[in-house]
């Protein structure tokens, strides 16, 4: 091998650069944020579905609501406990969860997803 020294040194530097981010960030993993409840949400105790379901599948529920409301004209949702909710992001979801930045955004940011809901749907005004 010609120029073995240069190649090996180059390789070491190259691999070192490649691994630098891992080394640099080791042990500094961002903690998963915990969604915070507003007093109103805490008081309500139950959401439109089980908390575990809402945690993993709220997007599917919202998509189904969207389909049913816009395309089907069906605007009322009966929860498993018999309670009837008006299917609306603004008027139902955000009525309790009026803290969008602490309830929605921090998790979405953590997961690096940016739902385009807010291009049209209006987030509640938050007092900081």
């Amino acid at each position: 091998m010609y120029d073995a020294g240069k190649i090996i040194v180059g390789l070491i530097i190259g691999i070192g650069l490649l691994l630098f981010p891992f080394y640099y960030n080791a042990g500094k993993a961002a903690k998963a944020p915990e969604p915070q409840l507003t007093p109103k949400a805490k008081e309500a105790k139950v959401c439109v579905a089980e908390t575990s379901y809402m945690k993993t599948s709220h997007m599917h529920l919202l998509e189904r609501w969207r389909q049913e409301v816009v395309r089907g004209g069906e605007r009322y949702y009966t929860a498993s406990n018999g309670k009837v909710y008006y299917k609306s992001v603004e008027e139902t979801c955000l009525d309790c969860h009026s803290n969008k930045s602490k309830f929605c955004d921090q998790c979405h940011d953590y997961m690096r997803i940016s739902p385009y809901c807010w291009d049209c749907h209006i987030a509640p005004k938050e007092t900081k």
């Binding site: 395309r71 069906e74 605007r75 008027e91 509640p124």
Partner: protein, 266 residues
């Protein structure tokens, strides 16, 4: 394994019979379930919403109030530029509203007077025919509805609509000039639209769903009862049918065959 012609035809024939039989059996056995699945999306059944604009009772002040009410309820921005204007309900002169029905001897009562225009919620809407994504469609209750989630902004519907009822969002409505829209969005319970989406009057479907009449009708009735009449054209006893029976009315461009459902008493 080799299949000769005879064997192949046997199998093919048998499969066809089984196939047809299978479907029929399904329909026979489970008619209720099939029906139920079709009815999964309930609509206001057997209705045909329509509107009467009674120009005998209408004046510029009422028209202005109607337009303001609509803009406020639906977060319609004012860009201050007619080229990018968003309009759900607007006013236009007689000769522009009813082209072909004007002549030089028509009186001042009509010529030059403004008429209140909106989406006609046509019986056979050309906008729905041309929409490539199904983002606009005719609901069973007669409303020509829009799904802004699904609109790709191709503007075929705007080309298809002979009434100019559809507007395109050339820019983000939230970026409309602040001085013209000081308190935008005016209704925080209703979404704004996004750039690249077409919009129009929906006969206030969100209000109808809660048993309220459209915002423009409400605003008009506050000043003068009967200037705008909204109701079910399918119901012979409805107010709108009574008004239409009692007065002669015209529609915009009926010769096009779109079947407009907004009537004008002039």
């Amino acid at each position: 394994m080799d299949i000769d012609r005879r064997k192949f035809l046997k199998i093919a024939g048998l499969s066809a019979v089984m196939g047809i039989g299978g479907k029929a059996a399904f329909e026979l056995l489970a008619p209720k379930e099939l029906e139920a699945s079709l009815r999964e999306v309930p609509l206001t059944q057997g209705k045909k919403w329509g509107m009467v604009v009674n120009m005998a009772k209408m004046d510029d002040e009422i028209m202005k109030r109607c337009m303001e009410a609509c803009n406020r309820v639906h977060n319609i921005p004012n860009f201050g530029d007619p080229r990018v204007e968003i309009k759900w309900i607007w006013e236009e002169t007689y000769e522009h509203s009813f082209p072909g029905q004007e002549h030089e001897y028509i009186g001042e009562k009509y010529l030059g007077r403004n008429f209140l225009l909106m989406c006609n919620h046509c019986t056979d809407p050309p906008c729905c025919r041309v929409c490539p994504t199904g983002a606009t469609w005719k609901r069973e209750d007669g409303i020509v509805m829009m799904d802004w989630h699904r609109c790709i902004g191709c503007r075929f519907c705007m080309a298809g609509c002979p009434y100019g009822s559809r507007s395109f969002n050339w820019g983000d409505p939230r970026k409309a000039p602040k001085e013209l829209n000081p308190d935008f969005p005016t209704n925080r319970d209703y979404p704004t639209r996004s750039k690249g989406v077409v919009e129009k009057c929906t006969f206030c479907d969100e209000r109808i769903a809660r048993g309220q009449i459209p915002a423009c009708v409400e605003a008009a009735n506050e000043i003068r009862e009967g200037a705008l009449v909204f109701g079910d054209l399918d119901d012979p006893d409805s107010d709108i049918r009574k008004v239409l029976r009692a007065h002669y009315s015209i529609r915009r461009k009926p010769e096009l065959g779109t079947g407009p459902n907004v009537y004008y008493i002039i």
